[in-house]
């Protein structure tokens, strides 16, 4: 990666074999509110990123932040690639759980009233055994 400082902007040359184009897009997107950014060059050979700071943002700081973002997104991308297979397996497991029945409101109401009204309730009324605190 090479940088060239001009009057009020900086040109950063990025090697696409190290930082892919989507990593460059992501890093640029983070700085959109603080800098004017323009991409040029060739996505397969050399990506040129032109950074021009907006108000109150030092050029050097902007350049360093962009480099950090590049590294951060490149790491994030490699992690995604490394754990891709595991995530795929977990997702398959989550989606292949045994068939579950979706119960709607009507089903619940039917079940509630379809039972025998004289049937003994599993949860007996415990209020009979209650002793007031005063006693």
């Amino acid at each position: 990666m090479e940088t060239r400082d001009e009057n009020n902007f900086v040109l950063i040359e990025v090697n696409p074999e190290i930082y892919s184009l989507d990593v460059v897009y992501s890093a640029a997107y983070v700085l959109l509110d603080r800098a004017y950014i323009r991409l040029d060059g060739n996505p397969k050979e050399k990506i040129i990123v032109e950074l021009m700071p907006k108000e109150n943002c030092p050029l050097e700081q902007l350049k360093n932040e962009f480099n950090n973002e590049l590294l951060s997104y490149a790491f994030h991308k490699s992690q995604i690639e490394n754990t891709g297979e595991i995530r795929k397996i977990l997702m398959q497991r989550a989606l292949l759980i045994p068939e579950t029945r979706v119960v709607g409101k009507e089903d619940l109401l039917n079940e509630e009233f379809s039972g025998d009204p004289n049937e003994t309730c599993l949860f007996e009324d415990s209020s009979k055994d209650e002793i007031p605190w005063e006693e």
Binding site: Y25, Y29, Y36, I37, D40
Partner: protein, 72 residues
């Protein structure tokens, strides 16, 4: 009417996103875009706004649109 000529490298900028952005900027400026070469001519409709500055904002806006479309 003051104008500025710039260029967007179409290897990096998506033509659909540029055209979508042009629609968003039509109240601020007049934009002529050649979708084969990437040349852009911007003429500010507001005397207080510099055409070159609008061009820079426009480049940022296109990048934002591209990112949003990618997420969607």
């Amino acid at each position: 009417m003051e104008s500025f000529e710039g260029h967007l490298n179409l290897k990096f900028y998506n033509v659909d996103s540029i055209e979508e952005s042009i629609k968003e900027f039509k109240e601020v400026c007049e934009i002529l875009f050649d979708k084969y070469s990437g040349k852009i001519k911007i003429s500010s409709l507001d005397e207080e706004m510099d055409s070159e500055e609008i061009f820079r904002e426009f480049c940022n806006y296109v990048l934002g649109v591209m990112k949003n479309n990618q997420v969607i």
